[in-house]
Symmetry: D2
Subunit: 348 residues, 4 copies
């Protein structure tokens, strides 16, 4: 029961064996705490190899912290941050961005989790007017919280707009690996090359135990970030265990293999359910999530056997996330149960 | 080189094998994220068995967060927090307590890391006077940052004073295990039984990889703490891996064995150096730290081979911390080098 | 030039002579600072006579502070505050509510400046879910920033909803006097009697020099507010001069006379322009503001002679505020110029 | 009774007639709100004439806000601010500096209200060490809270030290006028010319009704301060009434006359009591305050007729402040009562 499988979240999965082995391997003797160690230097170097030498990289514990501290670093409290209404930072961080940075979040309604120029421009007024929070950051999530992926052209357009207006582009990359697979691109091409200035580089949802990286693509953005991280309660003492995870994650294409598998499983799940008449898929399946409207009564029956969340109570829309360890059998069993449940419902 | 040993900090040590095994054991299948899982329930139950059923327990990542969020939970921003000048929260958290809670820290100079009534009373004025921050929390560290331990009588006295004045007693228990060993007492006897209301219950310095617990000994103190933790960027997604560590740590007397060993190593180190004329031990060795003044010139020579920190540049006082994995050989080698270094110095 | 008149804001007006005389009258000898004085006691008593004895009243300097500190008093930082998108606290306080209280502001799009249940309910989810800011305050502005007024029935409905959901009703009453006149009601009937818990009671826009009151209609809401005010940088040393203004403002029906006049002038202005074909009044004129769309080219011509603000650049909507000292001549001159300008435009 | 005179605080005094007249004079017609007006421009110009053209000047409501926002402007939350233990910002602002700026205040014990190098240096460690708040501001009060005055040499020494260490010098000038009189110097000579970077320029304690100025002596220090002031809830709508006060205050040497008189009255009071055997003056009388230890039993008897505060309950030290409107008769009556009270005490 405890180990019931499901599609609730990619962080219900455990740790990939290669990453766990890296942790075990790092557990040797004494190492200077707080990041002044070889493991950390190696992990940073690997990230620089991927994203460019002229960047700053800092490890923190979780994605919320990566977002919040990254945003705090590049703002003053009188700034505003424009984001999608569906974004994690707006919906699921319990107000941490406002509370910690002091900034106002300006949310944009969105059909598919993405920001577009129209919605952004709605918030672009009151510039230089002291009564009004000054827009400073445009924050996107890649892949989005709704399982979609910004194309490079979409990113170019909004990042260009941001820069033209003196703003900074932040990317919540909790699922950046899944997006890279979808786009068939390297991490650099879909971040700094399309205008991202600050990246929350996630790993936990793709097979790590804990640990995220904050990447500043310009070294002048946050030269004082080490203080912000420490004061922000995100400086790990035994840093080597985060670093070792990143090293394993970014070696041997593990990040790609994991993300690729999760994406495939989402495609498989979508393919299996899209022809069921009672199931209406609501978003393009571009990463590792499937969003669908299903009959309300079937939900609790399914949840008895599989974890997953209701995304929208009113419309009976659910979210099914796949992960690096989802198996075709998981999907087969789930689809079988889904069909059975819908059939029984029809019969009654 | 990477694995140079030393006495810099008890968190330069790695993870105890039993705890690492517990992590490995927890890596099975899917588990609901964010703490709604069996591992977490079991770990909380073990802590309640130790400290009492009528308490609230929350896991966070690090000690700074345990301190800061615990303090935030029981204060409003117009309160002040009285602590020792040498305390971690005053010296080594980069101002996180003030920044996050909004409170003023009132520090008390201390010879041995402990607070006494005299120093506390110095800050007890301006009560009910709106111009003045209102004292609300008395924070002690057990064992202290200077390797000393409050006796039960000392705790009783200051906790009694705090409660008589409507204040809350917070204990930074980053090294609570070491204190328990020294006092030959259970964790309950040296915390809630001597008046502690909020405990930062540390494990990382005594063999864990990461993770601390915040314990509220009265359930009315922070009924809303789950929001404070989440907004405070300290809610782990894969919580089971913190919980599993605590379970192992608190099983089979592991916490006691580790702390006991570290304390013994400190006694051994002290015994080995106390008769060296150039070494002056400056604090009672009551936990796992030895503070000593040594000739300034010898410090860099020693640091080439062993990690440790200078505590006070002016007086040439150093801090040597032992840990659960310090060996008698580590000490023998270090003392040998120390003697050799001092001899060479004399010869020159 | 310096004293060019206009319709920019009701706080472009000066101080009403009766209020200025009260200030002059209070300037006698020594008085204990910070509010422990007879002037303050008298002013508080007058407010209690109006609004009920069982309330708490605090003076601050400005409306932004009244809003922000009132909200801070009744929230914790993990709460959210629901308000209209057009509200002053969302648009014109430079993010002070988020920055100071730490809370998230959830804005509701609105046609007429008012909140309705539909929009409010859109934000009522994630209750008891620690990832989500918990809705705690419903904030309305009376009269609204768009010159409209909530009816008692409208207030009853949304305040009832708020209370049913354990929320607190905050009213930004920067123009509460204008609303009372419109509703032909006493201040108590349109605040506590319709469910308001916390009121920002404004005076500056209706003839005072500076000073607002924060009223808590339940004494348990903020028993510690004196500290919040002081720490919030809003405790006046020479408090008597705020108190004396409130005393004059609330005596001899001055607040009503001033608001009544301002409202009448808005009606007069609306009547004068509503039949001009190029002018489209966009909001019901229910308080002391007229909102209208006028030809874009006419705006700078008019602004040369009269102060007023463009409300919406895109639609060419302007805002004309009247005040206690607006004269029929001001309006006649303005309408004359408006007509002339539009005529010239047509001729070209 | 209400107008009982005394020596409690220089802000128990009312408003100087010339300043009140300036307020009355400014109450003419409409003026653009929030500082974009002729009164404000004139007042700023006068201050620039006094202190230099290349500065930035902003008006706020009160001294606490001037201190807090000035400090916030030049720091990040991981900084620390070094100040005297007796300073207003440490004792009497209810923790506003920590709460608003996020910074740590490091207080230095002081005999006479002044900072000296020794005490400052005690806090200068942990530089570049991310665990430790980074010292960024040295804050002095001139004249100090204990009625003493820094000499130019004293200021030169500590400001030089601050600048050599990359720090900023903040001066709380709530009583800067009194210091200027004592030093027989202009305001510029005792501020920017001795190294002050940011000045809280007070007026309320020397005859104004409300209003303080924040002066940045380098225009690069806070180019964005207009947002900080607005978000800090300190932007006055009817700004002209603060500006008009400053204009009057700084014209016709009013500020000097007022301060000069207050200082003389302190000298007179000191001269009258210094030979009373039961009175022990504890501080040099260098500005407008007299600190003295008097028999504890006499205090309530005196307080029945005159306002004043006990500075130190333990030592029975009291503080007597004089102000621009203190009269020789006030002092004569007070000294007479003091002598009578002490005599009666002796007789009993």
């Amino acid at each position: 029961m405890k180990n019931k499988r499901g599609f609730a979240s990619d962080n219900n999965a455990g740790v990939h064996p290669d990453i766990l082995n890296a942790i075990i391997g790092a557990n040797k003797g004494h190492t200077i705490a707080y990041g002044d160690d070889e493991y950390t230097r190696r992990a940073v170097k690997i990230i620089k190899n991927l994203l460019g030498d002229d960047i700053d990289v800092y490890f923190v514990f979780i994605g919320t912290a990566a977002n919040v501290l990254g945003l705090t670093a590049v703002t003053r409290s009188y700034n505003s941050i424009i984001c999608a209404e569906s974004s994690h930072m707006h919906q699921d961080e319990c107000g941490a961005p406002e509370n910690y940075s002091g900034c106002k979040l300006l949310s944009v309604p969105t059909e598919n989790g993405k920001l577009y120029l129209d919605g952004i421009k709605h918030h672009m007024y009151g510039i230089d007017f002291e009564h009004h929070s000054q827009p400073k950051v445009l924050s996107v999530t890649q892949a989005t919280e709704m399982g979609t992926v910004y194309s490079k052209e979409e990113m170019d357009e909004i990042a260009g707009f941001a820069h033209d207006n003196g703003m900074i582009v932040h990317m919540d990359g909790a699922r950046i690996a899944n997006a890279a697979i979808t786009m068939n691109s390297g991490l650099r091409e879909i971040t700094r090359d399309v205008g991202v200035d600050v990246l929350s580089f996630g790993g936990t949802k793709n097979g790590m135990m804990y640990g995220e990286a904050i990447v500043f693509f310009r070294k002048d953005l946050a030269p004082d970030f080490k203080y912000i991280r420490k004061q922000g309660m995100q400086l790990a003492s035994k840093m080597r265990f985060i670093a070792a995870q990143f090293e394993a994650y970014l070696s041997n294409d593990l990040w790609m293999k994991n993300a690729s598998h999760a994406n495939e499983m989402a495609q498989l799940l979508a393919a299996e359910v899209e022809n069921i008449p009672e199931v209406k898929i609501t978003q393009n399946v571009e990463a590792n999530g499937v969003f669908a409207i299903i009959p309300k009564e079937s939900i609790p029956v399914l949840q008895e056997k599989f974890f997953f969340y209701v995304w929208n109570e009113e419309t009976s829309e659910v979210r099914w996330m796949t992960s690096y360890d989802t198996t075709p059998e998981d999907i087969a069993r789930f689809v079988q149960l889904l069909k059975k449940t819908l059939r029984q419902k029809k019969d009654t």
